[in-house]
Amino acid sequence: MMSKIVRTITRLVTPAIMVFGLYVIMHGHVTSGGGFQGGAVFASAAALLLVAFGSGRVKDYMRIPDLTAISASGALVFIGAGFAGIATTFFYNLFVGSAIFGHVPEFGPAHEDIWTGGVIPIMNTGVALNVVAGLTAVMVVMAIASNKTRDGE
């Protein structure tokens, strides 16, 4: 548990970090960024919470089994997107040219169009779930463990 200033600032900043993380994830196929980067940004919000409020409070509303389940399901979304194209080949980009995310931009500089990229946005989301939940789980577990170690000594 840190001082009041830190906690207040954390309250203010955390939603902004999360929104920014989401933006990076959603626009991963259009601007720089992507599931991994956005996921890491998102997880840094969790890290901030951990530092500011201590592992004791955070672990009450972030439960490890849930986090692992989310992580696994994110990976499942990813691999599911890969399998979607198995009729042609594994990881075949199925949705290019279809109704979902199917717009195909012209070669060369193009303007922002979020409905592009075929299967990539979906994979991005899956990976992001994986990263967010995974990193958060690791941090929470390690925070708890190191606290326990310190108290035990």
Binding site: A69, A72, L76, I79, F83, I86, T88, T89, F91, N93
Partner: protein
Amino acid sequence: MPLLAAFLTPLVGRIGPRVRNTFVIVALAIVQMLVIIVARDVYANGIQIYTLGATAPSLAIPETHMVPVRIILEVDGLGAFMGLMGATVALAGAIYSISCMKLETGQDRFYTLLLLLAASMVGIQYTGDLFNLFVFLEILSISGAALAGFRTRFVDAVEGGFKYVIVSTVAALLVLISIGMFYGQYNLLNMAAIADAMQYTVIDKIALALLVVALLTKSGAVPSHWWVPDTYTPAAGGTSPIIYGASLTCLAALFRVVFSIYGLKLSLSLIGWVVIIAGLLSMFVGVTMALRQTDVKRLMTYHAISQEGYMLLGVGVGLAVLGDPQAVAAYGREAIAGGIFHVINNAFFKGLLLLTGEALFLQLGTRDLNKMGGMGRNMKWTCAFFIIGALAISGVPPFNGFASKLMIYESSFQLNPMLTIIALVVSIMTLASFTKVFQAAFTGPEQPEYAEVGGVPLSMKIGMGILAAATVLFSLFPQFVVDTIVYPAADALLNQTGYIGAVMGGA
């Protein structure tokens, strides 16, 4: 779609955390089946390639372009062979683990990691892409380290896991640097394409040195063998044979790199002799260290190092003469085949021995040979399995260990008789050391404090039984096994042109 196995394994690993033992076994059995299907296909039709994400699986190189862009899975004889090995060992280890892990917590994750380890073993063998190899190597090392450190209440388990992760991370980083060197020069990541473009510059030589060092380290050959016993000895339940299988996988990855990427462009005799000397040292140091051990699993681990020496010796002999077609035909091919045959034999009987050692530990609560005795009466099955494994590993004639060692002896004799003599001496020392274990653990007066120890649970018997059955099967039909699966694997290593041609098309 011959390569479904490779896709299916990671998927199965994902579902793992939520479903339990039966599912794991079913999944591994399915993987085993798919691996066998793939292997049959490869042996029937030659190298199979599968381009991920292309409009057609066989479209390795995009039209209008000269080099492969996407990741290509490429399965040749060696890949199929090693996949078979990995899947079998993983299956046996998993079955074995079911009953002996009952007392532990965190089983869900244990099985997840076990599946991931199995997946990565198959993945390493099937990939045709260098970077992909690196990625799977990392999966392998992380899951392996975690499994090694699974019994967190023992400090040696934790330390073993830590060593494993440090060693493999450094090794993987060295691999990554060499990948960067290839990429910088040729802008390629596909192994076949790199082999095609290879000009054998100074940078390539350095990359080769780094790769050889890294992969030898990971497979635990002698200059860097010190981590092996610490990691295997405390490894939990059925995992030690699987981790051992993982080491052998790294060994196979080394063969793949040396033969398929560098192939004839090497200064062969030099590298060949480096490999041979590493092999000899491994053999000798491993077995002498083993003779001094009283910890039953540690002893077996040192034997594992020593046996790895045989494989390196066999393949090294083949490598040393690779440039000379006559010598290859005369004994090089046989040497390589012997080395590879020894890999799979060893995975089976060494895995079996490690499992029996683990069974002793679980039932008696100690790994110290001096405290054991008379267990032949109480643990009849374990005793029988141990005898099979021990005879096979020391190369006693009817068993498969003899068949593969004979191939290595014969061929290495033609290169240099000294090699054969050392190998024979090591073999005898192996036998001596296992006789000692047998006497200490299974015969002799019954120790009063272990009078109530019963036999092992059923699933452990099945797990050991699978490996024992494989050992016996290979012993009964060595010629058949060698002809159907070993020689194709050896030929796959020798046939670098075919490996390149499958991807680059008509090269």
